[in-house]
């Protein structure tokens, strides 16, 4: 594997991850690009004690362009994209419309220049530091993650591992989140197979909640919450969708979403970088099988969110257990699950699909 760093016309970083060492990555970005937008602002929500990123510049971001103007395809004569090269294996670059960004020379710190970050103060704000990156899983516009070869998934995982380590080293970054949004129904703005990486300047609300639960579980039982969940699911079996030597995919007993699958490695590691080579290699075949089962459920490409849960940068690393949580909002061939009043306003989830039934349907799904 070879990693090559280059810069786009507006100064953003772009990384090629190549299977072969002889790839020529000298192509320059010949576009004229407008200057990069100002960073977003974080505002403290006193009702929830959470930070909300206000990123007004994102309103004008590229929205479902025609395929022949896809900014994630390789560049071609007369058609310049975000990727200067005429071909690539896997590419990662800084998002042109980032929710979080760190101006060059910014040393970070919890409050930092220009912000007053008093937790708990009504009206508190601070700069939306951090970084957002785009990961192109393949140069094939019409492919999908489910169709990637095991070798290609390994290359994507190397990119995730590389970026997680580098982004975690940015001053002020507290959590790195690799994810994929797939499908127009889930709100994707570009159809090309790609994911994103968010480097947050805080520990996200969900991760805080889960680490608190894991901490209490350890106090009460002495065990690791995630390991104990995995063991319980493997023993129960009824919600297991697929498994191999190093990974198990199961529908959680208290699933929130109509089709939800959690994919755990069999060994506790805080983040993807902790996985050994055999574990990394075993992920792709299992995960793409699960994705094909998902697509096979209703015979249509399923909209989904695939979310890697990794340890925060400085807290809870001993409690954390890297795993992927995959869920779809499709509950039937012609129906979506919406987050309406109960979920969106009160955080109270109602799931219309029995998790054991979801697992059975996924086990029986056609995967051709």
């Amino acid at each position: 594997m070879k990693r090559t760093l280059t810069h786009l016309a507006d100064g953003r970083e772009l990384f090629y991850f190549d299977r072969h060492d002889d790839a020529d990555r000298g192509a320059a970005d010949e576009r004229e690009l407008s200057p990069r937008p100002a960073p977003s602002e974080l505002r403290y929500d006193p009702l929830t004690e959470e930070w909300i990123a206000i990123a007004g510049h994102r309103q004008t971001r590229t929205f479902l362009p025609p395929a022949d103007q896809c900014p994630l395809c390789p560049s071609a004569p007369g058609r310049l994209s975000e990727i200067p090269a005429s071909s690539y294996d896997v590419v990662v670059f800084e998002n042109r419309f980032p929710s979080f960004s760190t101006p060059a020379g910014d040393l970070g710190g919890p409050g930092g220049p220009g912000g007053h970050a008093a937790e708990g103060a009504i009206g508190a704000t601070r700069p939306g530091r951090g970084r957002c990156e785009v990961v192109c899983f393949t140069s094939d516009h019409d492919s999908s993650f489910s169709a990637l070869s095991p070798e290609q998934v390994e290359l994507v995982m190397e990119a995730w591992i590389d970026r997680t380590a580098e982004l975690a080293a940015i001053p002020g970054v507290e959590q790195v989140f690799c994810f994929e949004n797939r499908g127009a129904e889930i709100g994707i703005t570009l159809a090309h197979p790609h994911g994103q990486i968010y480097a947050y300047p805080y520990v996200t609300p969900r991760t805080k909640l889960t680490l608190r639960a894991a901490d209490r579980h350890r106090e009460r039982t002495g065990g690791n919450l995630f390991a104990d969940i995995l063991a319980a699911e493997r023993e129960a079996g009824v919600r297991v969708v697929a498994a191999n030597e190093h990974w198990t995919a199961f529908v959680p007993a208290a699933a929130r979403w109509p089709f939800e699958v959690h994919v755990y490695p069999h060994r506790q590691v805080p983040d993807l970088g902790g996985l050994e080579q055999a574990e990394r290699a075993a992920f792709g075949p299992l995960y793409t099988d699960v994705l094909r089962r998902l697509d096979g459920l209703f015979g249509v490409p399923m909209p989904y969110v695939a979310a890697w849960h990794q340890a925060p940068v400085t807290t809870g690393r001993d409690l954390s257990y890297a795993h992927l949580e995959l869920f779809s909002i499709r509950r039937a061939a012609d129906k979506l699950k919406y987050l309406a009043g109960s979920e969106s306003a009160m955080g109270a989830f109602v799931n219309d699909v029995l998790p054991e039934e979801a697992a059975r349907l996924l086990r029986n799904a056609v995967t051709d």
Copy 2:
């Protein structure tokens, strides 16, 4: 105002709320209805320490029927709906496909028969007790809340107050939530203007979070969090959308949604039942004005969730401050805000619309 209780063919309760005392509410439900579904099951999510309701029977619920088969219109000869009468002002009845329900004779209690409710135990379950009701705001299928007269809104509020008090008295109910989901984009399954009431057998995650924040705020400052937020917004003024003698509507400084408006009474009361007559009467004119501004933004009916935050039944009543939180997922005439990876998986919100700009647009919106 006159309230009349009757029962539907499958035993569900239905309440007519009439402006005039002479309404004849003797009509019987002449339909043949299948028996009511079994209660849902609550499952404990050990990763978040929250309860998830699993309600498999809801998969078959009525889904966007044609207008001439609307179950929320009054009954007519040859076309029997959920409402036996041939006309009504406001009607409330038990949801035929409830997320929570309490079988007759069930005395509730935290665990109750058939469940093992040990908080913190992997695999814990308990029955999904509680109750779900539907509120028909008007018999006019083609109307909307924004078009209701002030008198009609007062009648709806009397219904909310009545139902909140009665549902809170059901054994095991911990919180009563009155809300409206509006618009196909938000996932409504019936177009007739209506809202819902959920009586939960637990305090919802969002309310728990907010009461914890309010408790800390009181410890730190001695003040009431909600009252202090309202005072700060009224003083800043820049995010105020509309106000009258008893109510103020403002976009919160840390809004999560592209268009979000919070509507506070000027006096702290734990729930709607605490409002005096003048305060109840003043709500409708202000709120329907805000709704019309929302519809005026892009010249199309806006999808929204309108959520009444009231005090839980047994906890935090002195900290609570009844208020309404209204938000839309529409961020532009042709674009929706989706809860994708960052929001759905990590609870980390990014808002693309500056709250001060949202408030300005709403203040300037055409409301004819």
